[in-house]
Each structure stands twice: as structure tokens, then as C-alpha cells.
């Protein structure tokens, strides 16, 4: 692995931060704080800092909760990748993790459904979900994806790459304008 080449790739793509590995809650906290401090030093509106941070939190917690809930084995499969980049005046927050192939249809129809909502319907759907009963043992409220879509205003992008018969790699991307 040529570190110089990696570094060149990072600067070419405007990557500010990238993490790959098992995500513990304390890593989520530490990286989150680093991201906030870093963004606070850039001369941008605080709302953009908050939105990038929020996308980062929802993505990492979603990935961690999914990997836990579905008991994805630790090691390579149990880890997640998160990246924050800046292209022109837009921040791009991307996360990737292994998903069971059997979960893909539900996951993509959920994201597609969210993308089909206009801002008003999105707000209503968030409220409806906030008001609905949780499944026993739920780790999240089921509104993280919608929350990201709301803050981004430009929808959720995703891609899927098959790994083997059992697993695929799911990548999720949101854009946050600098304002």
C-alpha cells in the first residue's frame, strides 16, 4: 500500500476524514468531536456543521445498530466505513457496511420510499414514525434515514455491491450544502 498514493487520492477527492474498522460508541463520539472541531474552523454556517455532524451520527449509529441487530460477525464484515468529503461547496457524508443479501430489498424500498416524499410528506412521515410503537428491543427510532433526507434536501443516494452468496456491501451517501 503506497501511502503517498492514498494521500493523493484523498486530496483529489476532497476527503477530509475517512474511517474504516469496527465502530464502537466511543469511536463514534471521538470522531464526531474531531469532525465538529474541524468544521468549526472552516468558515461555514453552523447549520451546515450541525447537518454534517447529524448525518455522521445517524449513519454510524444506523450501521452499528444494524450490524448488532443482525448479528453480523465481527472482523471485516462487522466493520463500517465512513467518509466525509467536500466537493465544491457541498459536504458529502458516505457510509458503507456489509448487509445480508436478504435485507436488501427491504432496505432499498425504504430508501426509495423516502426519496419519493416531498418535504411536507417527509415531515409528516417522521412524525408518524415518532408516534408509532417501537418493536421490543429496538435500538433506534427508525427515523435516521428520514432525518438525513430532511437535512440534505437532495435525497439519499445508495449503491450495492455483492460480496458473496450471503453478503453485499451497502453504501449510503448524502449531500449537505455548505449554505
Amino acid at each position: 500500500m503506497d501511502l503517498f498514493q492514498l494521500r493523493e487520492q484523498f486530496s483529489k477527492d476532497g476527503i477530509m476524514m475517512c474511517f474504516n474498522g469496527p465502530f464502537s460508541h466511543s469511536i463514534i463520539e471521538e470522531m464526531g468531536t474531531a469532525i465538529k472541531n474541524h468544521l468549526a474552523n472552516e468558515n461555514i454556517a453552523r447549520v451546515a456543521v450541525q447537518d454534517v455532524f447529524a448525518a455522521y451520527i445517524e449513519m454510524t449509529q444506523n450501521a452499528r445498530n444494524y450490524l448488532t441487530r443482525r448479528e453480523i460477525p465481527t472482523g471485516d464484515t462487522g466493520s463500517a466505513t465512513i467518509m466525509i468529503a467536500k466537493k465544491d461547496d457541498v459536504y458529502v457524508v458516505t457510509s458503507g457496511n456489509v448487509v445480508l443479501r436478504e435485507d436488501i430489498a427491504e432496505l432499498t424500498s425504504r430508501v426509495d420510499g423516502i426519496n419519493a416524499l416531498d418535504p411536507d410528506s417527509l415531515k409528516k412521515e417522521i412524525r408518524r414514525q415518532l408516534r408509532s410503537e417501537l418493536q421490543p428491543g429496538a435500538l433506534g427510532a427508525g427515523i435516521g434515514l428520514m432525518e438525513m433526507a430532511k437535512r440534505s434536501g437532495s435525497g439519499l443516494e445508495y449503491s450495492i455491491r455483492d460480496i458473496d452468496d450471503r453478503f453485499s456491501f451497502f453504501t449510503l451517501r448524502v449531500q449537505i450544502p455548505q449554505v
Partner: protein, 127 residues
């Protein structure tokens, strides 16, 4: 008298009840590892408190809440609203920095969910 005193951490707010002023203060940021576990004792405390002493002021100064914390906060507001409906002296104050419009949006959404006094206070100071 019941006490409630949860120390602030990087991802969890400080939550403390002030006996003298009958105020429950929540301040900091909220994105716990498991929001439901984190807020369960708070919800339980509020229920017990209201059963004994039918009054409470909730003073919130939280700059960021993740989505599951939002759900927990709404559950808390529902409990206060129920007490208010039964004649309890309930009021809620939500403080937010003027350069943090997301916090104002959230406050306004929460305000729509209750009929008790809900004041939104702007803090004009960068922190």
C-alpha cells in the same frame, strides 16, 4: 424527596432536578449509544415525581439530539402533557442558540405536540 442527577458526557446531556426551584434541567448534546436505555430512568423519575408533586418545569438546552433521542424527548413531553391535562402545573422552556436553526425547528415541532406552556428562548451568544 426524589433526586435525579445524571452527569454529562460527550454524547449524553446533564439531567438534574433542582428541588428549590422545582426545575428539571437537561443540557448538553444527546446521541447516546442506546437512547431508550439512557432515557428510561428519566422517564421513570418524571412519572414518580408527578405522582407525588403535581408540578414540574422542564428546562431544555440541548444543541443536538439524534433521532432516537427525539423519540425519547417526545415520550417525556407526552407524560408532562398528561399531567397538565389533569391539572398539574407544568411548563416547558426550550433554549437554543440563534445560529442553530435546527434546534428552533425541533422546538417548534415539539411545541405543536403539547398544549401546556412551552416557551422558546433564543440565546444570543456563541458558545
Amino acid at each position: 424527596m426524589r433526586t435525579l442527577d445524571i452527569v454529562q458526557s460527550q454524547s449524553t446531556p446533564q439531567i438534574r432536578y433542582d428541588h428549590q426551584e422545582h426545575v428539571l434541567r437537561i443540557s448538553g448534546e444527546s446521541y447516546p449509544e442506546n437512547s431508550f436505555e439512557f432515557y428510561a430512568p428519566v422517564t421513570a423519575w418524571v412519572k414518580e415525581h408527578l405522582a407525588e408533586e403535581n408540578r414540574l418545569r422542564l428546562d431544555i438546552d440541548v444543541s443536538y439530539m439524534n433521532s432516537s433521542s427525539t423519540k425519547c424527548m417526545l415520550d417525556l413531553l407526552d407524560i408532562l402533557e398528561e399531567a397538565h391535562q389533569k391539572g398539574g402545573a407544568i411548563d416547558i422552556i426550550w433554549r437554543y442558540d440563534k445560529d442553530n436553526p435546527r434546534s428552533l425547528d425541533l422546538a417548534e415541532e415539539f411545541k405543536e405536540e403539547v398544549s401546556c406552556t412551552f416557551s422558546i428562548v433564543t440565546l444570543d451568544q456563541s458558545r
